[in-house]
């Protein structure tokens, strides 16, 4: 492969833009989450800093940056400090392959979907090592929950994505988006409704969001895997959670909801609009549904999502074979 200057410059610009996007996303999303939570619970939410409290997150970010980082005694210092960085770093890579528009991709890779799945594994590793290194029983319990949850929910998630990959005959996200161009009923959500349902449910499991937020479970584990983190360590874990929300929202838009194609006026804005809609949906679900119990969480996965995912994949394969 030749390394030419244009692609190198493009890569640097894309990385810089992605970093800006992820930081901006965290700032806006934290505010939106608190605001939506407020309205769901019939109170105004943050209201003091800035108009309608919009600068509240900025103030929080400044507070988090100046806070002292406390390291618990007889913990594994290196792992403790490394875990938040490890949870945030692979995120930048994963956004490189997302096709925001037909021409707007940081790095065009034939195996884009696989790249995202590969680096997503590092996040669960970060959560576990952070929880273990804290030398705290709540942290350890959160970490243990995080492992069994992320390992279990990864399988139906991959099965749902695989059905889409089967249908389009490619792991390239740009090709998958291009296959849904044209009218609204070309979107994969209409040809793969079961895969979309499985994808949506596993998204909550993979991003550790309510109703599947057992690794944090603040009412049982006082914060779970990030109990001992303060200052920027906590902020990085927090950012990683909102960034993985952003990632699955973009994936939902690209894989199932037609990406940049819309009813009228195709373009990047549709990807962002669908992403925003899915994010709002995730927030809405968090403040509507109570947290499930751990055996319920695993039963949903192993007894329903996994067989349904396999069935869906099987039917997809048969239909493709018959259509050939």
């Amino acid at each position: 492969m030749d390394i030419n200057l244009l692609s190198a410059i493009k890569l640097v610009i894309a990385l810089a833009a992605i970093i800006l996007l992820l930081i901006g996303n965290s700032v806006v999303m934290v505010w939106l989450e608190r605001k939506v939570a407020g309205y769901v619970q019939r109170r105004p939410g943050p209201y003091v800093v800035g108009p309608h409290g919009i600068l509240q997150t900025v103030a929080d970010a400044v507070k988090l940056q100046v806070k002292q980082i406390t390291i618990p005694g007889s913990s594994d210092r290196v792992l403790f400090l490394l875990a938040p960085v490890l949870s945030m770093f692979p995120m930048f890579l994963m956004f490189l392959v997302i096709p925001f528009g037909p021409w707007l991709t940081g790095l065009e890779v034939n195996l884009g979907l696989l790249l995202i799945l590969a680096f997503a594994g590092l996040e669960s590793l970060a959560v576990i090592s952070g929880g273990w290194a804290s030398n705290n029983k709540y942290g350890l319990l959160g970490a243990a929950r995080a492992v069994s949850q992320s390992v279990a929910y990864e399988i139906p998630l991959i099965l749902a994505m695989l059905a889409i990959a089967f249908q389009n005959g490619s792991l390239n996200l740009t090709v998958i988006t291009a296959g849904q161009a044209g009218w609204v009923w070309n979107w994969n959500i209409f040809s793969q409704p079961l895969a979309f349902l499985i994808f949506v449910i596993t998204c909550f499991g993979e991003t550790n969001r309510a109703p599947f937020d057992l690794p944090e479970g603040e009412s049982e584990l006082t914060g779970g895997y990030h109990t001992e983190y303060s200052g920027m360590g906590f902020a990085l874990f927090f950012m990683a959670e909102y960034t993985s929300m952003l990632l699955v929202s973009f994936l939902a838009a690209v894989l199932f909801l037609g990406g940049s194609s819309g009813p009228v006026l195709d373009g990047v804005w549709w990807t962002f609009l669908k992403m925003g809609g899915f994010m709002t949906f995730m927030i809405w679900v968090r403040w509507t549904f109570p947290r499930v119990r751990f055996d319920q969480l695993l039963n949903i996965n192993w007894k329903w999502l996994l067989p349904l995912g396999l069935l869906n994949l099987w039917i997809t394969a048969i239909v493709i074979k018959v259509m050939q």
Partner: protein, 209 residues
């Protein structure tokens, strides 16, 4: 379409000749070689460093982190050899699944960050470990070195398309592929068998008067 809209909105008219010139500015061959060797060196460093960290770590979790670093280096090697599919699979399966499962296994047995499970290996154990490491090297090293000439014929590795890889696995190499799954099945059956035996023993002890 969106690009043109954006460009006209900003007031910039993209000049194709300028971009074509920029795209044509390819790094010279020497530059490629230097970068390839630098990448190779980095990955070797990751593999060796991770291996040493795994062998010399005081706690099991630190050793596991060494293993993760080694796997990262191996994935980089696959990338360097123009097989990104293998590289991503390495990350997905070894780091995302196997290392996480090992972590789970470590957490099931009681251990702390102070590293009290660390025992210095005895002389016999160290000798056996060294012997097994050198033995593997003694068998495969000469084979690799002797066959290096044949492998190096086309110096630049080419990427195999994914479809070709899948066809190979399900046509020509279907036998080894299935055999590997049999090994995994045996391992799973063994694990289930061990767990069941222990459970029945525990029940027997409970029911014994």
């Amino acid at each position: 379409m969106g690009g043109l809209l954006f460009a006209s909105a900003v007031g910039v008219t993209p000049t194709p000749s300028f971009f074509q010139e920029l795209a044509a500015m390819v790094l010279p061959t020497l530059g490629h070689q230097i970068m390839a060797y630098a990448a190779f060196g980095l990955y070797v460093l990751l593999i060796v460093g991770g291996g040493l960290a795994a062998a010399l770590a005081r706690t099991l979790v630190r050793a596991l982190m060494g293993l993760v670093v080694t796997f990262l280096g191996v994935a980089g090697m696959y990338l360097l050899m123009a097989s990104p599919f293998l590289a991503f699979m390495q990350l997905l399966i070894y780091i995302g699944a196997i290392c996480v499962l090992i972590f789970f296994a470590i957490m099931l047995v009681r251990n702390t960050a102070s590293g009290e499970e660390m025992h210095l290996p005895g002389l016999g154990q160290a000798a056996f470990a060294g012997l097994s490491a050198v033995g593997v090297l003694a068998v495969f090293g000469p084979v690799i070195v002797l066959n290096a000439g044949a492998l190096m014929k086309d110096a630049l590795p080419t990427e195999t398309p994914l479809a070709e890889l899948g066809e190979g696995l399900l046509n020509y190499y279907v036998m080894p592929f299935e055999l590997i799954s049999v090994i995994l099945l045996v391992a799973m059956a063994g694990g289930a068998f061990l767990a069941y035996e222990r459970r029945f023993k525990a029940q027997d002890e409970v029911t014994k008067p």
